[in-house]
Symmetry: C3
Subunit: 170 residues, 3 copies
């Protein structure tokens, strides 16, 4: 039987990553940080360093920009941060999104340990001018719906505070 | 006495239309799909076709880009999808928004059957650069407030999950 | 002992200011409107006038675009509208944000009377193209988290309706 799967949604700088880290810390002393971000520029490198400094010790970091399935075989608590960068990496790589999403969902569902997945809400602004941004928010929306459907618990983070939308927090 | 009026809010690709369709399907076997979208380009045509395929049979489609009041006299369950396209059509047409909004609100309130109205949340991003987009999100915000005020039930859909803000779901 | 501090969050045109005004009106007959907006252009002047007309009598208006601490010594109910304009003013002025934010948080916490602070949610759209907008939404997100942490009650306003995230409304 697989363990609890949690989806943590939130806007940019909503406190979602910090909330998710605290959640995973409560699930066990040895934990995996499954990172989808790649340090392609200085802004992203700064962000990665800030996150790493905040998390502190007790985390094993695994970088998996495209395919996290090899890591999702552990029974240690996993923080998958985040589905939005994962999606962005696949769009940049020109992947077939349907196939990639099906593989991700299946790997998450089958992981023997608990997994907390972080994902962004990007659809609550004005319609973007450019078609790529519109396609991205459509794909992100569909991914969030699919992740939410199979999660045991879904929580939206607003200004650091949880708004539980499904199930109960572990 | 008029029947239950529900407002379904959500961002782009939040699952709001699918949620609203399910809601209307539970309200009766014969139902009306009151469409405000017009197929002006390929992207919109695709979107309309995807929605139609998902809804399946049992729906009578009525297209009313500007004035849905003639249809809002039925006692069959109605899905009005969506107030955002309706607003966009009126802005494009150069309508007087105050008059148009008052007529819409009155038609919705007086409709003898249940109506589920779908509308977008567009105000939670960065201030848009262009004045038209700023005016649109102001108008959409005011419209949502007015729709919410007279609705019996208001639900915000996040990743396909309901967050009930007013009343109870029928 | 300091009185209740409330944070009212919401998107543009979500009804957050009106909700906050009603809240402050219930807290006392003599109240302060602590305004951070400056009428730099016609659009902003219109907005300020609309807000003022809606509020009506019974408000003493104090303009404090950068430093509201001198006013936050009263025991009358205060509406601080809004933290987003305050942040924007500091970014324009080239202030050190960490210092300014610490001073604001401290003045709010120490105010002997009740204070209702309005702030915008700006992080739920697509990643903005320009670096300044990205920096702004990061700073706004961090400010909202800090305001929420020290508030007794946090409420998100959606289409004029409250979604209480922390504590209970006074």
């Amino acid at each position: 039987m697989s363990a609890t799967k949690v989806l943590v949604l939130g806007g940019a700088a909503s406190g979602k990553s910090e909330f998710a880290e605290d959640l995973v810390c409560r699930l066990g002393p040895e934990r995996l940080y499954l990172a989808s971000a790649e340090a392609r520029d200085a802004e992203m490198r700064d962000k990665i360093n800030i996150h790493a400094a905040r998390r502190g010790a007790g985390w094993q970091v695994v970088e998996a920009p495209l395919d996290p399935s090899h890591t999702l075989t552990t029974d240690k608590p996993v923080l998958f941060d985040c589905a939005t960068m994962w999606l962005s990496n696949h769009l940049s790589a020109g992947s077939d999104l349907e196939t990639a999403q099906a593989a991700l969902l299946s790997a998450l569902a089958d992981c023997p340990g608990p997994v907390v997945t972080v994902s962004n809400e990007v659809g609550n602004g004005i319609v973007p001018d450019n078609a790529l941004a519109r396609a991205f928010r459509e794909a992100q929306g569909r991914l969030n719906i699919a992740l939410a459907r199979q999660a045991d618990c879904v929580v939206q983070v607003v200004a650091g505070l949880p708004n539980v939308l499904k199930g109960t927090l572990p």
